[in-house]
């Protein structure tokens, strides 16, 4: 029994299995069994089991990957069937959706036919695949099959016509697309041939239902006029081509990136349920006991780090959004993951004995190419800004950049191998708790002469206002600190700063890979915070925000941490700050989302709310905004490194700002503020574009009383720089007296003229401040004038 009783349906194995012993059917069973065996052989040959063995000896610790299995399952289920992340890239998202659901539909259809023909019919002699059900299923399969073809054609068009530069090309990529296309097309061809030979003949019970197989019906046109014998002959040949093709395809899954159909859902199931991309936790006691830090051998990664190579199918989304790649630097996050996978597979040749036991090869015995410097280039390792765009966009939940941080950790802590300019940053953090190497005793100098409560005097406050290094030392960002002070004072916020007791948050040290230095800085801060019984913290810098909020927890510092935009948004909503004054010349405003505020902490709306409550300017979005925001180039310690390769990230972002048509770009991060201000200067766009931190705009627009508004005038516009003949200059030949940024900021001011030695009570600073008061940075000048008028 191979066909429907009613005549509305079709015979399974039409033209293939004749009367008598079903040779072809039995042959097909045998082939399917062989296919399944070859699939597993393929897994072995393709290196899958080898890689699993290598993962089994991985020594790196990892976060929990199997807790809450049910919610993990449903999360993965929703991701896979909902295509949430995949569809964030519309074109490739849509074609994947078509191929995915096309194949799923065809697989379901085939499974139903299989159950009908090979189980239900022979055992119970029931034929359910007929009438309405048959017609519906036929239509379903035809439509989805067609979608799959459209999807494949779109994929082919992308690969061979549009050719995005972030897409890599391996032979399997071509095989797979043409292979799938061939299977789909032959499927429709045999349908068309069968229909031409049967259903399309007048009098056939199916004659009136042919359009329930629309694609087959159209394909049949090609065969109109052929004799029955020809149709049967061609059908038989192409049927076997189709079936053998489909079986070969199943085998090829085991060898190729197609394995992602199993591995990617599994990888999503295993996703880290953490509040930021986890970087391996190094407990403080580890520094006393461990012999090596970070990763230089692939086995030092965690098993899940290595498993990421299975989840990745080289789609390249991470590459397409990477700020380093997009400015011609040698970093492609996908390749980092894949190179680690290939390296592991190579190393397995010596790590796995003939009897199957797997061992870790000690450094002395390993003679192959090193992971650092060969498999993954050092320039690649240093190019990352930790902007998290790769991790955020990855539909497979692969963690790309944390793998680079592990390599940095090894290079920095084990080998002292880092860009030369970082040495001064480390020393500055060690000796003066700031990356600029400015004397720690001057950390509170920005607050001189203005009304800022000190924690040491106040004793306790609801909020600790953690100013951070940029707010305390960088001229551009001191204005942000003072603006916030004025606003907090006006709003009657119960807050205090730590003054000189404050220390560097350590984010840059951590992301550069100096976990030891980071923890030293963090512990010092935590001790001070706890000493004042700090519960809530406000930060200026999103890096400090993220570090204090999330990273300090690992070291026992648990605080409620807010970014100032969250606080200001609230104060404005509560009516404690009223924005009544118009700000001249803002024009169209756009907001640059800081990576550490947006992608890391999901603070997208508060800055926008604030801008929208200004009485001037109107907000437009750049092409890349919210989670697609393009990094300014300063994260991951890149703030402190020379950008010698490719083009400059900040300039690319500045051009994107220009493209939005905005006249003002707002930032809420000192690094972004610096980078975009520099970008505007470097591209000589001062006439067309201005950068402001949101806090400054709120300060300008807020209806503050005169006393509160005094803070900006009170602060020195330019930090006195090192005098030429001060002992410091002579004495620290290897240490720069001021950082690049500070130097640049001070460029316009006659810095040396007004410089002072780091001497207490000399009064020189105030004098210097007074004398250069006129010399405000150009971008601020119009606004200042505006205020004076009022």
């Amino acid at each position: 029994m191979h066909g429907p009783e009613s005549g509305i349906g079709r015979e399974v194995f039409w033209n293939i299995v004749g009367p008598g012993f079903p040779v072809a059917q039995v042959l097909l069973y045998i082939l399917v069994v062989i296919t399944i065996l070859l699939f597993f052989r393929g897994l072995a040959k393709g290196g899958f089991f080898t890689r699993l063995k290598m993962m089994s000896i991985a020594t790196g610790t990892d976060v929990e990957r199997l807790n809450n299995p049910l919610s993990r399952f449903w999360y993965a289920f929703a991701e896979v069937f909902g295509h949430r992340k995949i569809l964030r890239e519309p074109y490739q998202g849509v074609f994947h959706l078509f191929i995915f659901f096309g194949f799923l539909a065809l697989a379901i259809t085939t499974a139903i036919v299989f159950i009908q023909a090979d189980f239900i019919a022979p055992i119970w002699h029931v034929w359910f695949w007929q009438d309405g059900f048959y017609l519906g299923l036929s239509l379903f399969a035809d439509v989805f099959g067609l979608l799959a073809i459209i999807g494949i054609l779109m994929a082919l068009a992308r690969r061979y016509l549009f050719r995005p530069n972030w897409l890599d090309h391996k032979s399997e990529d071509a095989y797979i697309l043409w292979f799938i296309l061939a299977i789909l097309v032959t499927g429709f061809v045999i349908e068309g041939l069968r229909m031409q030979a049967t259903e399309l003949k007048a009098g056939d019970p199916m004659f009136t239902y042919v359009w329930y197989s629309p694609v087959g019906r159209i394909v049949a046109v090609l065969f109109a006029g052929m004799s029955d014998a020809t149709l049967h002959g061609i059908h038989k040949v192409i049927w076997w081509v189709h079936v053998l093709g489909a079986l070969c395809f199943i085998i090829y899954v085991a060898y190729s990136k197609l394995l992602h159909m199993f591995m990617t859902p599994l990888n999503i199931f295993l996703r880290p349920i953490t509040d930021q991309p986890p970087i391996k936790v190094m407990p403080p006691e580890m520094f006393e006991t461990a012999e090596t830090f970070g990763v230089h051998n692939v086995e030092e990664y965690s098993w899940k780090d290595l498993f990421d190579g299975e989840g990745c199918m080289r789609c390249g989304r991470c590459v397409s959004v990477c700020p380093a790649f997009n400015t011609d630097k040698p970093l492609m996050p996908r390749d980092v993951v894949r190179d680690i996978r290939d390296y592991m597979e190579n190393k397995a040749k010596i790590a796995i004995d003939a009897d199957g036991t797997t061992k870790i090869i000690p450094d002395e015995e390993y003679t192959g190419p090193p992971l650092i410097g060969d498999t993954i280039d050092k320039d690649t390792i240093w190019a990352c800004t930790t902007c998290m765009a790769c991790v955020d966009i990855c539909p497979a939940y692969v963690l790309q950049f944390p793998k680079l941080i592990e390599l940095r950790r090894y290079m920095v802590m084990m080998e002292s191998d880092f860009p030369a300019e970082v040495l001064d940053v480390f020393k500055g953090m060690e000796n003066n708790s700031n990356p600029w190497s400015i004397g720690a005793h001057t950390r509170a100098d920005w607050a001189k002469g203005i009304d800022v409560p000190l924690m040491s005097e106040k004793g306790e406050a609801e909020y600790l206002f953690y100013v951070g290094c940029a707010g305390a030392f960088d001229d551009l960002n001191k204005k942000v600190a003072t603006s916030l002070v004025a606003l907090f004072n006006a709003a009657g916020l119960d807050y205090a700063i730590l003054g000189t007791e404050e220390g560097c948050c350590g984010d840059s040290a951590k992301k550069i890979g100096n976990e030891y230095l980071y923890q030293t800085l963090a512990m010092t801060n935590i001790e001070i915070f706890n000493g004042y019984n700090v519960k809530k913290i406000i930060t200026i810098c999103p890096h400090g925000f993220n570090t204090l909020k999330k990273d300090y927890k690992e070291l026992g510092g648990d605080y409620e941490v807010y970014h100032y935009t969250e606080i200001l948004d609230n104060l404005i909503k509560q009516g404690k700050i009223t924005l009544t004054k118009p700000i001249e010349g803002l024009g169209t405003i756009t907001l640059h989302d800081s990576c550490y505020l947006g992608r890391y902490n999901n603070v997208y709306e508060q800055p926008r709310n604030i801008i929208n409550s200004l009485k001037s300017g109107n907000l437009v979005e750049m092409e890349d905004h919210h989670e697609k925001s393009f990094c300014c180039g300063a994260g991951g310690g890149r703030m402190w490194m020379e950008e010698t390769l490719g083009s400059r990230i900040n300039q690319k972002r500045t051009r994107e700002v220009m493209d939005s048509g905005a006249k003002t770009v707002c930032t809420a991060c000192p690094f972004c503020y610096t980078m975009l201000s520099d970008g505007i200067k470097e591209l000589e766009l001062d006439e067309q574009l201005q950068a402001f931190d949101i806090a400054e705009l709120v300060f300008k627009a807020a209806n503050l009383d005169e006393k509160a508004a005094e803070v900006i005038d009170a602060q020195p516009a330019v930090t006195p720089l090192e005098p030429e003949d001060a002992p410091a200059e002579e004495a620290a030949p290897s240490e720069p007296s001021v950082s690049e940024t500070v130097e640049e900021e001070g460029k316009d001011a006659p810095a040396e003229e007004f410089a002072e030695a780091p001497v207490a009570g000399s009064g020189a600073e105030e004098a210097a401040a007074e004398s250069v008061e006129e010399d405000v940075p150009a971008e601020e000048a119009p606004a200042e004038e505006e205020e004076k008028k009022e």
Binding site: A420, N432, P723, P727, A728, A767
Partner: protein
């Protein structure tokens, strides 16, 4: 290749310097202390020579109070093998360059050395005398402001490049000798984490001046120490027109600055 590096812990270059109430030195409270920046070059060079010869030891000798151990550990973390910490409260406060050299010489004599390295000067008192006095006391040659060092394979001789005004002098010297390091000699390394951890376990021999048999005292005394006067603020020359500004400038140069 055995070297001894004489190193001094000094205030960080960015730290706030105050004169002590007696006016005889700086107030030492609240100061961040570091290894002398020129001494870093000395330690680095000693380590590089040891690495080049693939043999020998690098010993650190430092005179200073308890806190000096931090700078000593920094040197050990960079890779030095052992240290002598001359911690003598009766001594270091009053020690002048002569007394310092005497106590260092006594310590160095007990050690094996082909070269004694120092920074060209300590950046706190800037006297720059110790290398020369030390060499005299050890009875060996001294070359100061070294920019480059090449040691013969048999360690009997070295070719040294030193800085002179506007140029370089290349000098042959027999070893052992005292060399003082100038900026440019090398790029001091950043101590690795294993280095820092190992440094905690490296031997540090704590001695007093008496232990070393030194009974000389300072031959000079600091009478008074003052900070440089505060710098005057700059002045912006006012004027409506460039001509008027120029006239006002000339006037100021003549009347106020008395330069013209």
């Amino acid at each position: 290749m055995n070297t001894v590096v004489c190193m001094k812990q000094v205030p960080d270059t960015e730290t706030l310097i105050k004169v002590n109430p007696e006016g005889t030195g700086i107030a030492t409270e609240g100061i961040k202390w570091v290894m002398g920046p020129y001494d870093e070059f000395a330690v680095e060079e000693a380590l590089q020579q040891k690495e080049k010869f693939k043999a020998g030891t690098v010993s650190i000798v430092s005179l200073g109070p308890d806190r000096a151990i931090e700078a000593i550990r920094t040197g050990l973390a960079m890779g030095a093998d052992s240290a002598v910490h001359i911690n003598d409260s009766a001594f270091y406060d009053k020690a002048d360059p002569y007394a310092t050299a005497a106590v260092l010489a006594a310590a160095v004599k007990n050690l094996e050395y082909d070269i004694v390295f120092l920074g060209k000067q300590a950046i706190d008192d800037d006297s720059g005398q110790v290398p020369a006095i030390l060499a005299e006391m050890l009875g060996i040659p001294v070359i100061t402001q070294v920019l480059k060092l090449e040691v013969e394979a048999d360690k009997s001789k070295a070719t040294v490049t030193r800085e002179v005004e506007g140029g370089h002098a290349i000098i042959d010297v027999t070893l052992p000798a005292v060399l003082s390091a100038q900026k440019g000699l090398n790029e001091p390394r950043y101590a690795s984490l294993p280095g820092i951890m190992k440094a905690k376990k490296k031997p540090v021999d704590v001695k007093t001046a008496a232990d070393l048999g030194v009974d000389v005292g300072a031959m000079t005394v600091i009478k008074e120490m003052t900070l440089p006067p505060a710098r005057q603020a700059g002045k912006i020359i006012e004027g409506e027109t460039p001509e008027e500004k120029a006239a006002n400038l000339a006037k100021a140069l003549h009347e106020e600055a008395k330069l013209i």
